[in-house]
Amino acid sequence: MKPLSSIIEVTGLNHSYGERKILQDLNLSVGKGEVFALIGPTGAGKTTLLRIINLLEVPGVGEIYFDGKCIPRSGKQRLEIRRRMSFIHQKPQVFNLSVYDNVACGLRWRGEAKSRIAEKVDHILDTVGLEGYENRNARTLSGGEAQRVALARSLVLEPEVLLLDEPTANLDPVSTDKIERLISDVARQGNTTMIMATHVMSQGQQLADRIGVLLSGRLTQTGNATDIFHSPQNEEVAHFVGMENIIEGVISESSQGIVTVNIDGKPLQAVSNYPAGKRVYACIRPEDITLLIADSYEQKAVRSSARNALQARVSRVTTIGPLSRLEVDCGFRLVALVTRLSAEELDLQAGSEVYATFKATGVHIMERESSR
């Protein structure tokens, strides 16, 4: 789904700090108006990638294209192009100036007329809910307010590309909510391209058109939220997106788009086209597993369309807010998430005999790399 006209394009990017490789063989293209989320654990290279795109750093190897033009490795043109973007760094760095001067500085540096600056700054402070703060020293603000100043300072420039590095890290939930709403407002207007680095998966899911997973310096998978969260390409991505059940197995049968995976002698059905003999991982999201009490199953009081029903014994129950997380042993370990109410009504506790059932469509099959 490569967009027709890309505003940012990165090709063959490799970057290291000394011996340490930060980014490897990275190619990325972001379309005009697109909201792209870069997710990955801390230290994966997200910040470095954003810094390179913002032309703060020159990549070791590789080219950056902005609006189709290849960016030179030095010279005045870099400033001109940088002025068409804006970058909100992770730790909000407000200058030791008034809120007004903080927000106005980017416009002043671009040589805008004083009256235009006043007009734009007033408007943007209104937008981010900081009206009346003009004369406060920005250093005296709280973390959430400072981040809103940083956001206003970037948005007032009406950048073609807005880069955000963990915009809500270190913020309290209320401030996080405000910042997320502001970002999503800008995203909805659709004329700003956004690249946002985050390790909060839900943020990527909610705000982005497309997600890229950056793991140890490699862009491992890009796609929309559904692709990434339900069909991760490999074990690393699956782990990172919170796929708790990743089980090794071998396909024993394959016909009409349904495969049977042999997991330590237990058969498991899934929707996939891999041929028999293929070594795979079966991934099941914990919330897709339904637990049935053994006796009700034997009486066939309910019949289920779920293709998989495995006899299991509960080994551990933990409560997470309104949910109960159950670890069950059915020859291999499975994690299931059910509401706390169900767990209580069914009297599920360590030692309970249950059936773990899930649909064949709830199992995502991915290839095990031969090297592993």
Binding site: R51, R82, S86, G106, W109, A150
Partner: protein, 228 residues
């Protein structure tokens, strides 16, 4: 002890009566050292910014040399300016030896290393994130230096105060290149030397007190500026 008391009352007397000679000498001290310090600051602040923000071979060594020059003896600077500008010297054709101009040049040479070195260390106190933020917001190199100097204004102003202090309190250079000519190059410190040599300790000490009072006024003024 009586001498100290007498000189104290004499100083107050001289100040209160606005003794024209004292006013003239103090004014000249201020003018010469102020000009030297201002010119040095105009050179050192941008130059310090440039050195701080650019990587080049020998940067470490340059900073080491600058710091070594903090210890430059004033009389040695005087000697250098004297040799350069004396009639037979390479710059002798300017004919500025024994003028306030030569004194300004001498004090500038004295103050520049101090201002430059302290500006660089003041800028190091501004976080890299602040610099990156400015660059991201579209600041050019020069605009970034401006912003960072403003962020470091306390440390930068402290450097300027220290530079001015070194200029106004030195005597070796002013004596050598100015010549302590009455009504032309005589400043507070050279007067003190002269009056002491003449045995007029009272006037010498009174002049010293006047110099310190000047310093107090300037320091209060700069403190006000810092707090803005």
């Amino acid at each position: 002890m009586t001498e100290l008391w007498n000189s104290l009352t004499k100083a107050v007397d001289l100040i209160v009566s606005l003794d024209p000679q004292v006013i003239e000498i103090a004014g000249r001290s201020l003018r010469i050292s102020g000009t030297a310090c201002l010119l040095a600051a105009l050179i050192c602040l941008p130059l310090g910014g440039f050195i701080h923000f650019h990587q080049f071979p020998g940067k470490r060594a340059l900073i080491n040399i600058v710091q070594t020059l903090f210890f430059l003896p004033t009389v040695l600077v005087g000697l250098l300016v004297f040799v350069l500008f004396c009639r037979t010297g390479p710059l002798g054709f300017f004919g500025i030896l024994l003028t306030p101009t030569a004194m300004v040049i001498g004090q500038m040479i004295l103050v520049i290393p101090l201002l430059l070195g302290l500006t660089i260390s003041a800028l190091s106190g501004v976080s890299k994130e602040t610099v990156d933020t400015a660059t991201s917001l579209g600041a050019s190199g020069f605009q970034t230096i401006q912003l960072v100097l403003r962020e470091a204004k306390y440390a930068v102003l402290a450097a300027v105060i220290l530079g001015f202090g070194r200029a106004i309190s030195e005597v070796g250079c002013a004596m050598l290149v100015g010549g302590n000519i009455r009504g032309f190059t005589r400043i507070v410190t050279t007067s003190i030397t002269l009056e002491t040599a003449k045995g007029d300790f009272e006037l010498a000490i009174a002049l010293g007190i006047i110099l310190l009072s000047l310093a107090l006024i300037i320091s209060i003024a700069l403190n006000r500026l810092q707090q803005r």
